[in-house]
Symmetry: C2
Subunit: 237 residues, 2 copies
DNA sequence: CGACTTCTTGAGGAACGTCAACCGCAGTGG
DNA sequence: CCACTGCGGTTGACGTTCCTCAAGAAGTCG
C-alpha cells in the first residue's frame, strides 16, 4: 500500500457539496489533519477501515466459498466510510474499482475528534444515516426486482455521484466502474447486465457515452422502471 | 396510534446487554426521559422516525407499484432505529410484525442529548455501524445466494435476537415473525420459503418448535450453507 | 501486430415465481 | 354443538427467466 502524509486542501469545498453541510471547516481539518493518503490501482485492497474517498471508486467486495463475488457497497469521491463492525463473521474487503485515492483515518484520531467536536458527530451520524438509506434502497432492489429494474435503480443512484453533468443529449454519468462491477453490485451476472444495457439502449432510455460514461436520455421512464411501475411481462422476480 | 408518556425502567439492563455498552446510565435516561411509548398491533405502522424497540418486531416495509412487498430491515427488542434520510425518494414504512412496543424519540430531543453527551454519540455511531454491517450482510445474501442459503443466513441473524436460548435439543430461536415476513425479508415468495423450511427439516438441520419458534439442530452445517460452502446442484443464483 | 482482458452474443436447462387447490386453525354467529 | 369465513401456511404443476457454458467481438497495452 502506498501511503504519503499530506495535507489535503481540496477537501473543504468538495466536502461541503454533499453531506457535509453544517460541518465547521476546523472539524474537517481536524479529522483529515493526521490522515494518510493512499493511492490504489484497480483491484488493490486497502487495510484502512475508516476513511474518505477522494477520487475513483471503492467497493466492498465479498467472495463466497465457491467463488461467487458480490459488491455490498460502493463508495465514490467524497464518501466517508467506516467499516468497524461489532464482531461480524465476515466483512467485505475494501477494493479499488479504478485508480483510487483515499484518506485513511486512524481509529484513535477519529475518537479524539468526536470527543472534541460535537458537530462532527452530528455530521457523521447524518452521513451514516444516508448510507443506511442507500443500503436499504439497495436491499429493496436486490430482494424483488428484475435485472432491468435493478439496473435502472443503480443508474439513478449513480446520478448522485460527483461528475454527473446535465448536457444537451441528457444526463451524462461518469462511472469509474467496469460493467462486471456494476453486475456484481446489482446481483446479476455480467452477461445479464450486458443484455439489460442493450435493451435500455434499444429503447432509447440510455445511450453509450465515451469510456466509463453513460448518457441518460429518458429519466422519467427510468424512474418508472426502477419503482416497478412498468407493466412486466416477467413472471420471475 | 396509542401513545402514553411513561418512564421506562426496564431499559437499563436490556440496553447494556447488546450494543449499548460503554454508555453511561444517565445518557440512556436522558435519551428516553421524554420519549413516548407506543404500542402497535401486527400490521400497524408508526409515524415515529427515531426510536427504540422494547418488545416485538418492527419491519421496514416497502411496496412496489405492482404490489411486490419487501422488508428492507428488521428491528428487534433493544434495537435503535433512525429513519431520517437525506431526501430519499422512497423510504420504508416502519410496520409492526407482531405485538410491538417501542419508544418514540423526538428528533430535537436526540439532537439535544447528542450535544450534551459525547458518549451517546459514540454509542449511536457504533450502533449504526452494526446496523450497516447487518445491511451489508443482508445485501450479500440477496445479491447472489440461493433461497436455502438466504434462509440459513437469516436464521443465523435471528440467533442474535433476544429470546434465543440454548437447550438440550439445540438452539431455540424466538421469532415474533410470520413466515411471510421472513420470506419478504430474504426476498423469496412464501411458497419458496415454505419449501426451504421443509428441506431444512428433512435434513435435520432445524426442527419446528412451538408457535413462533424454531430449533436449530446443526449450527455448523447451517453456517456452511450460509457461506456458500455446500456444493450446490443449483445453476441459478 | 499479438497477448490480454473486458464485453457481447447465443443456446440450453434448472430454478423459482405464478397460479390454484387444500389444510389447519381461530374467530363468529346461530 | 356445527356451519361459515378468513387468514396463514403447505403442496403440486407449469412456464419464464436468468444462470451456465462456450465462443466470438471489441477494446487496451505492450
Amino acid at each position: 500500500m502506498n501511503t504519503a502524509r499530506v495535507r489535503p486542501q481540496a477537501r473543504a469545498e468538495g466536502a461541503e457539496a454533499q453531506g457535509w453541510d453544517g460541518l465547521a471547516p476546523e472539524s474537517i481539518a481536524a479529522l483529515s489533519a493526521s490522515a494518510d493518503m493512499v493511492q490504489l490501482k484497480r483491484g488493490e485492497a486497502t487495510t484502512a477501515r475508516i476513511g474518505i474517498v477522494l477520487s475513483g471508486a471503492l467497493g466492498l467486495a465479498r467472495e463466497l466459498a465457491d467463488g461467487r463475488r458480490v459488491l455490498t457497497a460502493l463508495f465514490h469521491a467524497e464518501d466517508f466510510f467506516d467499516l468497524r463492525r461489532g464482531s461480524r463473521p465476515q466483512e467485505g474487503v475494501p477494493t479499488a474499482l479504478a485508480e483510487t485515492v483515499l484518506l485513511a483515518v486512524e481509529e484513535e484520531r477519529l475518537a479524539e475528534c468526536l470527543a472534541d467536536r460535537t458537530d462532527l458527530a452530528g455530521a457523521l451520524l447524518a452521513h451514516l444515516g444516508a448510507q443506511i438509506g442507500r443500503l436499504q434502497d439497495h436491499s429493496a432492489d436486490l430482494a424483488c426486482k428484475t435485472p432491468m429494474e435493478r439496473m435502472a435503480s443503480a443508474l439513478l443512484e449513480f446520478r448522485r455521484w460527483p461528475g454527473a453533468a446535465r448536457g444537451a443529449e441528457g444526463e451524462r454519468l461518469a462511472l469509474p466502474l467496469r460493467r462486471t462491477d456494476i453486475a456484481d453490485y446489482i446481483g446479476v451476472k455480467a452477461e445479464t447486465a450486458s443484455r439489460v444495457f442493450r435493451q435500455l439502449e434499444e429503447e432509447q432510455l440510455i445511450s453509450p457515452g465515451r469510456r466509463n460514461q453513460i448518457v441518460v436520455n429518458d429519466l422519467p421512464e427510468l424512474k418508472r422502471i426502477a419503482s416497478g411501475g412498468r407493466p412486466r411481462r416477467s413472471t420471475r422476480r
